[in-house]
């Protein structure tokens, strides 16, 4: 009905999108510039492609399906420790991969708790290595992400809907069909697609739990081609495959990511009248306990081993920690400068395809972007000097799609519900951001910033290519300690890394929700 749709940050949004595309395309161009296309893909490469798709499909399916009961249970139950658990749901995803792998090994590994339990009953041991391990780690990382995305969607359902449902005396099935299913239909496909795309470019999990001819992802193959063979030709070919695969997945994902818009409410605290039955309570309780155990056991293992190893951490670890904090803060600043105008533009534009700009960042392999920039910087400056800023920049590109998924829906809602009033009051430009958008989406901004900070803090990817003895990040330093079998020092470093990642996430996520009562 509104013929003058509110324009929010169109120009700055387009500039940001152009910059993102330029950063990726320049890297891509550099890789191809250096590559000579002498050969085609070999059987090992095809195996890597097949494995990549298979593990991504399994990871996405399992993560989203299990997220539904967990998000539902969390949305409609109030219990002591709920907010702590919701915060912890952010933990595995923002957990540095290398730290999580340490925790998963303690629980599911060869000498882990699970196998100890199986052995006690005389059952054969299960192996964490290979497909099942890669999928397990991906589910460990993405199940909480899916749950949080669903939960956020659930919490945008105005309390009035549930009040109406209670008023009408709807059965649980009817509540699900009339209120929750439409929401799931809007959010689930996008969530699954997002996880699929994330898992397509998985590197560190495959590096630690996969490997070998039967469990190598494309990203890992790219790394090996660079690092061990410096075979730019093969790496470039694999980058192209990666870009085509993840890119087409991202485009397909966009087709099924609908605009999420669930009307306005009066911002009352969400109170539920449905699902008070005993069976539902018990099921919800069981779901919450199982989810909590799945998350907490590996984290507990990291904590226990880390405390033992902490006194043995060398000074180099603390220096690396300082570098990591700098990289994380730089990533957050750059991310917000890019993501906010982009989100404003996407939320108000008719063409939903522009969200692909963000997904493009993750479709392109981070290692490929890093190497591309290595090649570009090399003739001009010492790439090792710029290793940390480049790492921060690549981290921003990785975080951008998540940030957009988090920021666009509430921004779109804000424009839809308050756009008319804002126009009537001539609220536009900076005052519109200052008084309407920023206060309304502050919780999501905090969440996105925290996620970016933690992701950047724990990233072990590009920095591995730029490996330099003096300028390292904490994850790389930890990896080096593990490589030289200083396991106790590595466990101590893991604990520090865990504290930093969770700390920076908590700081921003909490900051965003602080007094965000309305």
């Amino acid at each position: 009905m509104a013929h003058r749709t509110l324009q929010v940050s169109t120009k700055t949004g387009i500039s940001a999108a152009t910059l993102v595309l330029a950063l990726i395309l320049a890297a891509l161009g550099a890789v191809f510039w250096r590559a000579e296309f002498g050969s085609l893909l070999g059987p090992a490469d095809w195996a890597a492609i097949r494995f990549t798709v298979l593990q991504a499909v399994l990871s996405a399916l399992i993560s989203t399906v299990f997220a539904i009961p967990i998000a539902r249970a969390l949305a409609r139950r109030q219990f002591v420790g709920r907010s702590l658990l919701v915060t912890l749901l952010g933990a595995p995803f923002i957990l540095p991969v290398i730290v999580a792998v340490l925790g998963l090994l303690a629980v599911f590994g060869r000498a882990g708790w699970l196998n100890a339990g199986l052995a006690a009953f005389g059952l054969p041991a299960v192996s964490i290595y290979g497909l099942q391990g890669v999928v397990l780690a991906h589910v460990f990382f993405n199940l909480p992400l899916a749950t949080r995305l669903l939960l956020q969607g659930w919490q945008t359902i105005p309390a009035e809907r549930f009040r109406l449902a209670a008023q009408l005396g709807l059965t649980p099935q009817a509540v699900f069909r009339s209120i929750e299913l439409p929401l799931l239909r809007q959010i689930l496909p996008g969530t699954a697609a997002l996880i699929f795309v994330i898992c397509l470019t998985s590197f560190a999990v495959a590096l630690t739990l996969g490997g070998g001819p039967r469990a190598t992802t494309i990203e890992l193959a790219i790394y090996q081609a660079f690092r061990f063979d410096f075979d730019l030709n093969r790496a470039a070919l694999l980058s192209l495959v990666q870009l085509g695969l993840a890119g087409s997945a991202a485009v397909t994902a966009l087709w099924i990511i609908p605009s999420i818009s669930i009307g306005g409410g009066q911002d009352r605290p969400l109170k539920r009248w449905d699902a008070q039955g005993g069976v539902q309570r018990m099921l919800d309780g069981a779901v919450i306990i199982l989810a909590a155990l799945f998350l907490l056991l590996p984290l507990g293992a990291v904590l226990a081993r880390g405390l033992i190893g902490l006194p043995q951490t060398p000074a180099s670890v603390w220096q690396a920690a300082g570098n990591s904090i700098g990289v994380a803060l730089l990533s957050i600043a750059v991310l917000l400068v890019l993501a906010l105008p982009l989100a404003g533009w996407i939320a108000t534009t008719k063409r939903s395809s522009v969200e692909g700009v963000g997904l493009f960042g993750i479709a392109a392999s981070p290692l490929m972007i890093g190497t591309g920039w290595f090649i570009l910087i090399n003739p001009v400056a010492d790439p090792f000097v710029l290793a940390l800023p480049v790492t921060a920049l690549v981290n921003v590109l990785m975080a951008l799609p998540f940030a957009l998924r988090i920021l666009v829906p509430p921004l779109r809602d804000t424009v839809q519900v308050y756009g008319r009033l804002s126009q009537a009051l001539s609220l536009q430009g900076w005052p519109f951001w200052r008084w309407v958008v920023l206060p309304r989406i502050r919780p999501q901004i905090g969440f996105a910033a925290g996620l970016t900070g933690a992701l950047s803090m724990g990233d072990l990817g590009v920095i591995a290519l730029f490996a330099h003895p003096d300028r390292t990040t904490l994850p790389l330093q930890m990896y080096r300690l593990m490589g030289s079998y200083q396991m106790e020092a590595a466990a101590g470093a893991a604990l520090i890394l865990l504290a930093l990642s969770l700390g920076i996430f908590w700081l921003f996520d909490k900051g965003g929700r602080w007094h965000a009562d309305a």
Binding site: M1, A2, H3, R4, G264, Q266, D267, R268, V417, Y418, R420, L421, Q423, A424, L425, S426, L427, Q428, W430, P431, F432, R434, W435, V436, P439, R440, D517, A518
Partner: protein
């Protein structure tokens, strides 16, 4: 004086024709069956619904394509008239300056508007903690500080009880009399017309008819209006 000249609004199969003039210092009631286009007419005045044909003139100046905020009018919608994350004072302040950088004079202006509608003590509260009547008062305080020559009401009090709604209408009546604004209000209730309106714009069968004196029209309604009033 606001003139809608040979106006036509077309939205899919819906169309509304209007050719009418709004005089200064008068109060108009817009009545008619549901879906006839009462809100659409107000939306066209305000700049939220495009005119397919015709012109909108304010004091002989063409404002057909002016932005909603640049028009000489202020409108209260059916809902979402206040930002729930801003205090009452800030919500009213937005009517003075969209960037909320208020001088001390402007702050005083906001305070006296709040006092005028009886919300002096509620300035720092958020809308969510106010009653429905108080929320309406806060929105009216903003109308007061905006001091536009035209005030448009798209049934903002529809959710209030009869006594409270009458109270609000009386307050609106007093406010527009004080500011010398014209009032255009959508309503379903004939008693509202009697209570406040000088003139009636009857909207039915795809046409918004020219305003007619309220009393004469209500005492001797033409057949279509009689059918609507029942």
């Amino acid at each position: 004086m606001l003139t809608l000249e040979q106006g036509l609004i077309r939205q899919g199969s819906f169309s509304l024709a209007a050719n009418l003039t709004i005089e200064p210092h008068k109060k108009y009631a817009v009545i008619g069956p549901s879906g006839a286009g009462k809100s659409t007419l107000l939306g066209a005045f305000c700049g939220f619904v495009p005119l397919t044909q015709g012109k909108l003139l304010w004091q002989a100046r063409d404002i057909t394509h002016a932005a909603p905020g640049a028009r000489p009018m202020t409108m209260l919608f059916q809902d979402n008239n206040l930002f729930p994350h801003l205090s009452v004072q800030q919500n009213v302040g937005l009517g003075v300056r969209p960037d909320l950088r208020l001088s001390s004079d402007e702050k005083t202006q906001v305070e006296s508007a709040l006092a005028r509608v009886g919300l002096a003590d509620m300035a720092d509260r958020k809308p969510g903690s106010l009653s429905g009547g108080q929320q309406s008062r806060a929105a009216l305080a903003r109308v007061l500080v905006q001091a536009r020559p035209l005030v448009l009401l798209d049934e903002p009090f529809a959710a209030l009880g009869p006594a409270l709604r009458n109270e609000m209408l009386d307050l609106v009546d007093a406010l527009v009399t004080e500011t010398g604004a014209s009032l255009i209000m959508v309503t379903h209730a004939p008693e509202d017309v009697e209570r406040i309106a000088d003139e009636v714009i009857f909207v039915a069968s795809g046409t918004a008819m020219a305003p007619q004196p309220a009393r004469a029209l209500m005492e001797n309604p033409p057949s279509e209006l009689r059918a609507y009033l029942g």
